[in-house]
């Protein structure tokens, strides 16, 4: 075991618990995630993003902390009135409290963003794992299918699919938009996962495990998956921001949330109609949407930089 003890951090395979107890702390082999965390901790951008994301999450989950006004309580007599009392941002065309609406709009954005990213994450993971592990004709068919999906411009497919899925006139459209984004946004992730799996598959430890009689399922889940999933998860962090932005875009174009569901995209769309005389109903939701997407993209960007050893 003396050889093992001299293994340096650089040579040690990522995160293998091959170190006996009682070792000096500085010699502890560091995993990719550990390295990335060390790198992340030092970045100002990461902490800024964390604070912003945390603030947005608190706003989404506990909107009553920020405003006690009911966003659906609108009085036409208040139309386009300036800021007064609790209505910090004034009132919109319908006489609704803009501040209350903007704060309450965070929940739908986050909900659609997180759920669609999870859906797309699962689909992309299965696709990438299957295509990368089995190769051959499975890979050929799955990859051609991804090519076809990428052949249709994303926004266009999103509008068409969202209209089809959101046919129910009574629903608020959350489910339809979530499904639309989840079903369309997994393609690039699946490609990343596929190539990560292919490179992990050729490693010696996989060959060793196979020789020890591991079943394909065990090989995939215990050996290949943990070693190829890092870059995929990082990609999903970025995708979360992109999906939030796509939800707003679909809602803006009138095929997203509907029937009174609050969405920043709908608020922006309504705001543009009167922007010539009353800019504020447009500006506030646009700012909140912009800052939210920026926070998630910044987080994803920082995490990606930390996980990509080539950039270090």
């Amino acid at each position: 075991m003396s050889d093992l003890n001299t293994v340096t951090a650089a040579e040690a395979p990522g995160g293998q618990p091959n170190v006996p107890h009682g070792r000096v702390k500085r010699d502890k082999p560091r995993s990719l995630a550990g390295d990335a965390w060390n790198d992340l901790r030092k970045r100002k951008m990461f902490w800024v993003a964390i604070v912003m994301v945390a603030a947005i999450l608190v706003m989404a989950i506990f909107p009553t902390l920020f405003t006690s006004a009911d966003p659906s309580q609108c009085a036409l007599s208040n139309q386009f009135k300036g800021p007064a009392g609790n209505a910090l941002f004034g009132y919109d065309f319908q006489g609704c409290d803009i501040y209350a609406k903007v704060v309450n709009g965070a929940w739908n954005s986050i909900k659609v963003g997180v759920l669609s990213t999870l859906l797309s994450g699962v689909i992309g993971l299965l696709f990438g794992l299957a295509a990368g592990y089995f190769g051959g004709w499975v890979d050929a068919i799955l990859s051609r299918f991804v090519d076809i999906m990428l052949g249709v411009p994303f926004l266009l497919a999103g509008i068409v699919l969202s209209r089809r899925l959101g046919g129910d006139p009574k629903s608020d459209g959350v489910l339809a938009v979530t499904l639309t984004l989840g079903l369309l946004s997994w393609t690039s992730g699946a490609r990343v996962m596929r190539s990560a799996v292919i490179s992990a598959k050729q490693q010696d430890y996989v060959a060793a495990a196979r020789m020890l009689g591991a079943t394909p399922g065990r090989l995939m889940l215990r050996h290949i998956l943990p070693n190829s999933i890092a870059s995929y998860i990082v990609l999903l962090t970025l995708l979360l921001g992109i999906n939030i932005s796509s939800e707003a875009t679909l809602s803006f174009l009138g095929v997203g949330l509907k029937n009174g569901a609050i969405s920043w995209g709908i608020m922006i769309s309504e705001g543009t109609q009167f922007a010539r005389s009353e800019p504020w109903p447009l500006v506030w939701p646009a700012l909140f949407l912009g800052v939210t997407v920026l926070a998630f993209i910044m987080l994803g960007d920082a995490v990606r930089d930390a996980f990509d050893p080539k950039l270090r």
Binding site: R144, F145, D147, I148, M149, G151, V152, P153, L155, L156, A157, I159, V160, L161, R163, R164, G241, S245, A248, T249, F252, L253, G254, V255, G265, I268, G271, T272, A275, R276, P279, L282, V283, A286, L287, L289, G290, V293, L294, F296, I297, M298, D301
Partner: protein
């Protein structure tokens, strides 16, 4: 090379039919009564019903209908929109506007991102470099539904520097603000790629050799380094052009530009199936050919790349 092109073309045929079929199926599947959808609220007589069924092959299977439609598209007959206009005419109105918009946007984006990218690579770690990195991050993150209405509000309406909307025969001046908005989406990645690529090439041996020969710094950077660094940038610009042609839906909607995205958004909202599938078919073809051209250009620009 020849075999590579043939293989790519075959793949493109598959992708084309797959992608158009997806859109066709989404637009036309589960349609309750296409004849009633076509004529609207008016009552339809039995003879009209028979005639329309005959004309649109409604008594045949879904795949056959798709086949008849595609046969029309590939022979240049796009059919008629639900509004009664020939789709071919609508396209010849819409495509030139979108093309001009995309070209202006690409030129603005390329000029800005290459200049700024090279400059921040030379002064790596400086104030300019750090601030542009931050700005590109913000640009990268800003959804187009935020940039487009705000740009229209601030520069079009409040300051009045640009035209806030465009007319049917959009002039260069009218297209300028929407083109800048579109350029914003692609500037960030283009600039980052330029910067990374120039930084990498500045360390290359041939740069040291050129400097050792006594060439001026400017000549080394703008002739030797830039030429080699632009290879990935050129390919990225090509891909972006394909994306811009389709991605202008929101921008054209906000600025009222009667281009492809504007027509498409309206056609989808009015369930104008033939119009949507017609535009999408052309978009997919363009998209695929631009991507093929970009890959071939890559090989032409970089002699180290060989396709078998």
């Amino acid at each position: 090379m020849f075999r590579y092109i043939v293989r790519r073309l075959l793949q493109m045929v598959l992708t084309f039919f797959g992608a158009t079929f997806l859109v066709y199926a989404l637009m036309f599947a589960n349609q309750k009564d296409p004849i009633q959808a076509l004529v609207g609220e008016r009552p339809v007589s039995e003879s009209q019903r028979i005639a329309l069924t005959e004309r649109y092959h409604l008594d045949e299977g879904f795949f056959m209908q798709y086949w008849y439609y595609m046969k029309g598209v590939l022979t240049g007959d796009f059919g008629t929109s639900m509004t009664g206009r020939k789709i071919y005419d609508m396209m010849s109105d819409a495509w030139p506007v979108t093309f001009r918009l995309a070209i202006i946007a690409i030129v603005i984006a390329a000029a800005f991102s290459v200049t700024a990218g090279v400059y921040s690579a030379i002064k790596r770690g400086g104030i300019f470099d750090n601030s542009t990195l931050l700005i590109t991050l913000v640009l990268l993150a800003m959804p187009i539904v935020v940039i487009a209405p705000l740009a229209q509000l601030i520069f079009g309406i409040q300051l009045g520097w640009f035209a806030p909307t465009a007319t049917r025969d959009a002039t260069f001046y009218q297209l300028l603000l929407p083109a800048i908005v579109l350029a914003c989406i692609v500037i960030a990645p283009e600039m980052r790629v330029t910067r990374t690529s120039v930084v990498e090439n500045l360390r290359a041996d041939y740069v040291r050799t050129a400097r050792a020969k006594g060439l001026t710094r400017m000549r080394v950077i703008w002739v030797h380094v830039l030429r080699n660094s632009l290879i990935p940038v050129v390919t990225l610009i090509g891909v972006d052009l394909g994306g811009l042609l389709a991605g202008a839906i929101v921008t054209e909607h906000v600025f009222n530009i009667p281009g492809v995205g504007f027509n498409l958004a309206r056609a989808i909202n009015t369930e104008d199936g033939p119009l949507v599938v017609g535009f999408v078919s052309i978009l997919v073809i363009l998209f695929l050919f631009i991507n093929l051209l970009v890959d071939l250009l890559y090989a032409a620009l970089d002699p180290r790349i060989r396709y078998e």
